[in-house]
Symmetry: C2
């Protein structure tokens, strides 16, 4: 049985300010919750599940039990962010961001400068996961990685890709020699350069591109050339990110 | 002033069966409508615009006038498929699909086998436009190219990329020697093959991949290798398409 206050609290987590205030976020559905429960490093705060889910997950017990609330389908619908609620909803602690300067300077990372669409953000998390990137950083004005739509569309990639929300200048301070690539429309073709296997790739906002201050800090401007007879109208930001990461990794 | 029947008809166009029955589709918003009006090959059937739009588009006249209905914002909201209706809505005739076997055999095309998400379909249209592909084909069970969400998310690419909905076997009959590449998880790395600049690339359904019958007709199975330490969980279908097209074109 869910109290009115509990429902109000859970519903508030769809907003960034409450996710930040309470330092947690929601993850829903059987697949994502199963992944969360299988990971040691993720701190589960509470779990709301239907009796059907409980019956199907008999091994779920022990330490988690006191954090479990059994809910009816109707209650689940009230607290869910999904159109079609799926048996179980977890409240998870936001992992404390930590950046290791050695890994940063020796690895390949992404910096999302103002990416606003949660769907794009989730898709980019999957790309970072696929190509084994070291970090996914987001600017302060970018969509929140813990937005319910990002969590759902990332297919669990948010559990595997280390991420942090910080100013670009903080990264340069940490690793001053960090080689910075920026995706711009007017850059040099990605296919005509020798690319380092280390560094950071900056992806700009869906319509405005990379912000002027960050543009100044870019070492190499790169672009994806349109094909013969193609229209360089616009490429989706996540698609462009996927192409860049594929080329850097191969 | 819109009659009840007219409203009902316009609302029905959100469903594929009515778009097919009436042989037309909706396109909304200032930018897309401006592109439609600037093209000769697109047949505009009707235009519904607010008086604000009319005032801002004084050159819009002549032949189109008799197809124009001035609507209030309230009426526009009733017939619009958008959350935030944007001044103008066009009813456009579905172009008759035509496939030139010479262009097909000498060009590079995509075949979407069961892509279901209209957002993915719109993004893939933009990719095909960017890389100047010759055709975008869709299987009979794929999302409709003229679905309102595809039209809106394709950013006008649907006007530039020739498309047709047909069985894969029809293409092989037209051009028996058509070189067929298929994106599969267990294929050979895209980066370790010499790729032809001509042929057709098959992209499978978001979760099930390429259907068994089409798989049999593939000459070369290709895949995108995950990066070191990466998780080959899933790459979004549109992102995978973008990577493949970028490699084929460069």
């Amino acid at each position: 049985m869910l109290s009115k206050n509990k429902i109000k609290y859970l519903q508030s987590l769809k907003l960034k300010k409450f996710r930040q205030k309470y330092n947690n976020f929601l993850a829903e559905g059987e697949k994502i919750v199963a992944e969360i429960l299988s990971q040691d490093k993720i701190k589960l705060e509470a779990l709301f599940a239907t009796s059907e889910w409980i019956a199907e997950n008999p091994t779920f017990q022990g330490n988690f039990n006191k954090r479990l609330t059994i809910v009816t389908e109707k209650e689940l619908a009230k607290i869910s962010q999904l159109k079609t609620p799926n048996k179980v909803l977890a409240v998870v602690e936001r992992p404390a961001p930590s950046v290791d300067s050695h890994r940063l300077s020796n690895g390949l990372s992404l910096y999302l400068d103002g990416i606003r669409d949660p769907g794009n953000m989730g898709t980019i998390l999957r790309i970072a996961d696929w190509f084994g990137l070291d970090y996914l950083f987001t600017s302060l004005d970018a969509a929140d990685i813990y937005h319910p739509k990002v969590i759902q569309s990332s297919m669990g990639a948010f559990l595997r890709v280390p991420s942090a929300r910080l100013e670009f200048s903080a990264l340069r301070e940490m690793v001053p020699q960090l080689k910075t690539y920026g995706m711009v429309l007017e850059g040099e073709s990605l296919f005509k350069q020798s690319l380092d296997s280390r560094g950071i790739i900056v992806i700009g906002n869906e319509s405005k591109g990379i912000s002027p201050e960050i543009k100044k800090q870019i070492d190499r401007a790169i672009s994806i050339p349109p094909g013969p007879g193609g229209n360089a109208e616009s490429l989706n930001a996540a698609v462009a990110t996927g192409i860049v990461c594929a080329i850097f990794r191969n």
